[in-house]
Subunit: 407 residues, 2 copies
Amino acid sequence: MYTCNLERLQEKIDTFKKFGDTGTGGITRLSLSPAALMARDEFAKRAKAMGMRLKTDDLANMYATLPGSEELPAIVMGSHVDSVVNGGNYDGILGVLTALEVAETIYTEKIKTRRPITVMIWTNEEGSRFEPAMMCSGVVTGKFDKARALASTDAKGVSFASALDASGFKGDEKNRLNAKDYAGYFELHIEQGPVLEMEKKEIGVVEGVLGMVNYTISVKGVSDHAGTTPQKTRKDALYAASQLIVMLWERLGKLDPELVFTTGKINASPNIHTVIPKLVEFSLDARHRDPKVIDRVVDVIKGLPAELSGCAVRADLNWSRNTVLFNSEYVDAVEKAARDAGYSWRRIYSGAGHDAQYVAEVLLPATMIFVPSVDGHSHCVEEFTPTELCLKGANVMLNAILEIDKR
Amino acid sequence: MYTCNLERLQEKIDTFKKFGDTGTGGITRLSLSPAALMARDEFAKRAKAMGMRLKTDDLANMYATLPGSEELPAIVMGSHVDSVVNGGNYDGILGVLTALEVAETIYTEKIKTRRPITVMIWTNEEGSRFEPAMMCSGVVTGKFDKARALASTDAKGVSFASALDASGFKGDEKNRLNAKDYAGYFELHIEQGPVLEMEKKEIGVVEGVLGMVNYTISVKGVSDHAGTTPQKTRKDALYAASQLIVMLWERLGKLDPELVFTTGKINASPNIHTVIPKLVEFSLDARHRDPKVIDRVVDVIKGLPAELSGCAVRADLNWSRNTVLFNSEYVDAVEKAARDAGYSWRRIYSGAGHDAQYVAEVLLPATMIFVPSVDGHSHCVEEFTPTELCLKGANVMLNAILEIDKR
């Protein structure tokens, strides 16, 4: 079994976290911003030093390729270097740095691969500068219209088209990830949730991205003083919200034993013990592999009363997506690599969306490898994964690739 | 019948609302803050202009007295000038300004009173800067320990003792409100509820302060990831808390039509849409004049399940108080003054706590006069009472005092 190098990986993490360092522990590395371009330059410099062939496509997605010994489609590892505002230094960038470390291990250890090995950077995954999220994998896989993507503007009114032109990383459309030149896709990512850590697993073998809907349910009442307002004249938004949560558990609980749903977040206003709440908002997140079950969840939401206990109720869909299953051969290869290395692992579904899901859905066999997020934190200053665990993830990716390369 | 002056009262309201104006429609005039000290200075200036004798006690409670024609204990009118953060310009301050206007009417119209007439300002009624609320009436009436009050610190770590020393308003303990030098106490206040407005009454003849209990109910579950934890193994603290709130409404709603209860505050932890809540805490506030009904509330709380939907439930009593009845002679005098003036009125209980309740409980005959709160709002930017109604309240206070003064 081959292994990557801890010091080398640490050095990569330390170097790249300077690009977009906010000075307060966080990272702001918006897509195609000066900080993101510095990260791309550093990536290009390191790829060239290993003799990798560099290409960019018309959306500035970057591809750095080590040659293989045979004329075969390449295996790709990739992720993104952009972050949210004041995010952490692991979401996205860790997938690029571990991929680079895997390539460096193959290069340094002179590991023979039949297939070329490509490390790629997706442009604008977060959608924090230009909406929507996963924009460029979306365009490459035909999920999003390119013209609309180019017209998307940032907070300062700069269009994605002009940011692309100014970046120096805009290349040719024919260089896009495609099913002729590439064989399959791996993406290492932090879990962005608490499951691996809670269950003391080092590796998440990602089976797919679960179909889901996410709603904000708002209940509007009237604030009045707790001591003087007769009970029967009250419009108490928290009472109505509590009734709704109980109602949702009853109705959703009947749909399917594998359906999971969560009201994880609740905020009441003004949230003072002597004042009747005038507004309560809570989240509803529901997930199931089968889109038909999700449709029935939507029916339940739509069937909620518009008024309850004098309060106005509305449900706003924040996002939804269908289940994407990853390629079982690739998933098995990841599991085998984790098992062979003696790492603790579990199969898991991704709750968050990733570029890998678009690739898997329409373009190439694909899968992901998760490493634990300390305390489940992500998109914040506290986002962290110990380098030892990042290294184990990189080792799994390296050996899964070598396994796939044999076939 | 004597009447106060609308323009003069309006001028007082307009002048004092500048002290602590947040610039966004609200008032922040924390106890002994620069804004509150400006209000005290303005009060002192106006009292001195009428030749009133000014005193402060060891807690910076202020007393301004017009002489009477006989050597008798004084009649006191008072309230507070401190506000909550981003509160309104009527809670507290209106009781001081109408008292000042009553004194100014007596002074200007040369109304002869047998007894001296005192206008007083209580320090730190809201408890927004230094806990607890009604701190200084509490110390004066022996409800609270003075040493503990002095040790109370604000958000910046400043103690009440050092704020008192720095205020310039700290006086002598012998100046405290007492049963030898004072005969009785009146306090005008906004209702802080919707009852008077709903019933189109101009004056609330306050019979007492309602007994109450205040609990924090904690529900302890287990946090797990929203996407991966099977529904039936979950211990969702927000689901259990919602069931409890619905249960409380059902059980408490049956006890007595005049019982009011409120779950005004709720906090979930970690409060993330992808994580099952592990801890939810909410407040329960219940009020009724009959201690037997409050006892039945306590029985309902004690009868809550210790475990619900896999979560541990506990209820902690934060505070309780018994109903305080105001002096019936004083209450009748207020009612007579309202009736004689031809104002619409109703008898009412105060749901909120006031300095008057401590005075009534242990020190002096006391009562309160309520004026309507538009839309029942209080402790917020929307807090408002038209000056015409404030004036009617002042007129009632003036004539009730003159009635008591005859006896």
